[in-house]
Symmetry: C2
Subunit: 334 residues, 2 copies
């Protein structure tokens, strides 16, 4: 509206955008994340232009059932890290509806209190056309935010399913939120999210069922065989109560990641997952099931596994992967 408004980023080329992103321009960063979402080919050249992520950047994932208060806890964490002087980015990942192809709700309704803070970047994200889906898109967006120099990246996911667990596991530390009396902790255990928790938060801890939920979670955690036992932190995110304890728990986990060598292991596993998601995305285009084949399976004329083998046999020839690995540079035993 005003004449001094910055130039519309749609008119800029890839190199200009890379420059703006490096300079921390929020509009440019937002545009690149849109490219990531849409599977735009320009994402790749921008990612190449950016420096690798700073080692000190912390990626914190938050997941839990709808209604657990993830946005409120995220907002409380933004406040806490801002109070330390950290620049903070929030990526709110909405699984894309298979029907509308769009993420519901947007940046506007989320965490409005931080909207005018220059040290905070907030973005919601779906996956419209990204090869490999959100499992590939989320790490790319995180990479952009890290390269820009956000010291803390909070990744909030909406659901509690397998896809959300995967996205949360792109983080260094994963916070799983549970609410007392809301389907209870057994339900969270069933959804498989407790096992990815580095820190467990019992939010809305002023509810009467809180002691029972804390007891259940402690019993489950005591059974975990992992070296790191997730601390259980009660919070009332709407009032900010418990936020300091949550930050302390996250700091402890961060120190453990470094001391145990787990950070390096996780980074390797994540790199592997990211490449796999991209490979599958690239293959999806080439391996679309022809109508005729789908019809034969639907009619019961072909067995699905036979159809899959037929498609692979006619579309793909494998080279010997072992040759490639042997040819790669690295220490030799001769």
């Amino acid at each position: 509206m005003s004449q001094s408004a910055p130039p519309n980023t749609t008119t800029l080329n890839t190199r200009d955008i890379s420059g703006l992103v490096k300079a921390g321009d929020k509009r440019a960063i937002g545009r690149v994340i849109s490219w990531v979402e849409n599977g735009d080919a320009r994402t790749r050249s921008v990612l190449k232009d950016l420096k690798p992520a700073a080692a000190g950047t912390r990626v914190i994932g938050l997941t839990g059932a709808p209604g657990a208060g993830k946005s409120t806890v995220t907002s409380a964490l933004v406040r806490a890290f801002r109070a330390r002087g950290n620049r903070v980015a929030v990526l709110a990942v909405d699984p894309t509806s298979p029907f509308t192809g769009g993420a519901l709700l947007g940046d506007r309704v989320r965490m409005q209190e931080h909207a005018t803070d220059d040290g905070v970047f907030i973005r919601s994200m779906g996956s419209r056309g990204q090869l490999g889906g959100l499992a590939a898109a989320a790490p790319q967006a995180i990479r952009v935010l890290q390269a820009v120099g956000y010291e803390v990246v909070l990744v909030e996911t909406v659901g509690v399913g397998q896809a959300e667990v995967e996205i949360a596991s792109a983080a260094d530390s994963t916070v799983v939120l549970v609410v007392p009396g809301m389907g209870d902790s057994i339900q969270a255990a069933k959804a498989g999210v407790l096992e990815v928790a580095d820190v467990l938060v019992v939010n809305k801890a002023d509810r009467p069922d809180t002691p029972a939920t804390l007891r259940d979670l402690r019993a489950m955690v005591s059974l975990a065989r992992s070296e790191w036992k997730p601390p259980i932190v009660p919070t009332i995110a709407t009032t900010g109560e418990g936020t300091d304890d949550l930050v302390e728990a996250l700091d402890k986990h961060d120190a453990w990641l470094e001391a145990s060598g787990e950070r390096a292991r996780r980074r390797l596993a994540r790199a592997r997952d990211e490449v796999t998601a991209l490979v599958f995305g690239m293959l999806a285009k080439r391996l679309a099931v022809p109508d005729e084949l789908a019809a034969r399976v639907a009619d019961g004329q072909s067995d699905p596994a036979d159809a899959a083998e037929e498609l692979l046999a006619t579309a793909v020839i494998f080279k010997d992967l072992s040759e490639r690995v042997r040819a790669a540079p690295g220490p030799r035993t001769t």
Copy 2:
């Protein structure tokens, strides 16, 4: 314990098992579903031995957030369909934890009232080694249950994420459960599940927030552009209240599926998804990311997309798919 117990199915060969499955032996059916879960190669030969699924079998999916009462609603539906004289199978799909590799909770704690009913088969299911994960395993298990002659197959999923939406969409009719005041209906909308709903159930409809939730859902449904507008059914599954309305809504949807041609369209889309999941599962084995490549990506030496292309280029040669499709039998335009 008793001497008249049936022979342990572990000692039987594939052909014996196929015979027992065809005869409706529950232990044998359970064993084949274990094979499906574990990605056992014997699954395929049993599936070949079974007749194609009867056209009249109804597959009904139930999904919703943890704590929404899916098991209770499922149990109420089992009672209702049994009262009609239908044989009913229940498949409770638990997303497998990436850490323990096992589905938590089992058949034992689910729907005990039906445990002694010969016309009811209940099985919980995870995905331990299945190629293509649950997206491939669930349809195979459904295929087994249909072939055996269960007239109604209820597929209950635990989470509300993308994976659960995919599994639910293997059904002819998908029921999405919402609970009043539990994160509310906006949260369900955010998780993208409302759009896959053929019938919306507001369970625990004795809660005070029920009218508001019903109003919100009606507003959302009125915006849907689809030909079928999902009916909204309030239930109190613990008392059985609303179950008759739910069955009526499901019957209406079933009639619409047939009349509109939507059933055929869905079957084709499902066949395509099933083949795709199997193809990707078969490829996963061949396209494992080598350690050296993952390390280069983790260290920032290689871009993930470059690494993915490198892996594909060295592992795979594509043939021309179009030739294959042209060679397939079918109507010609010449």
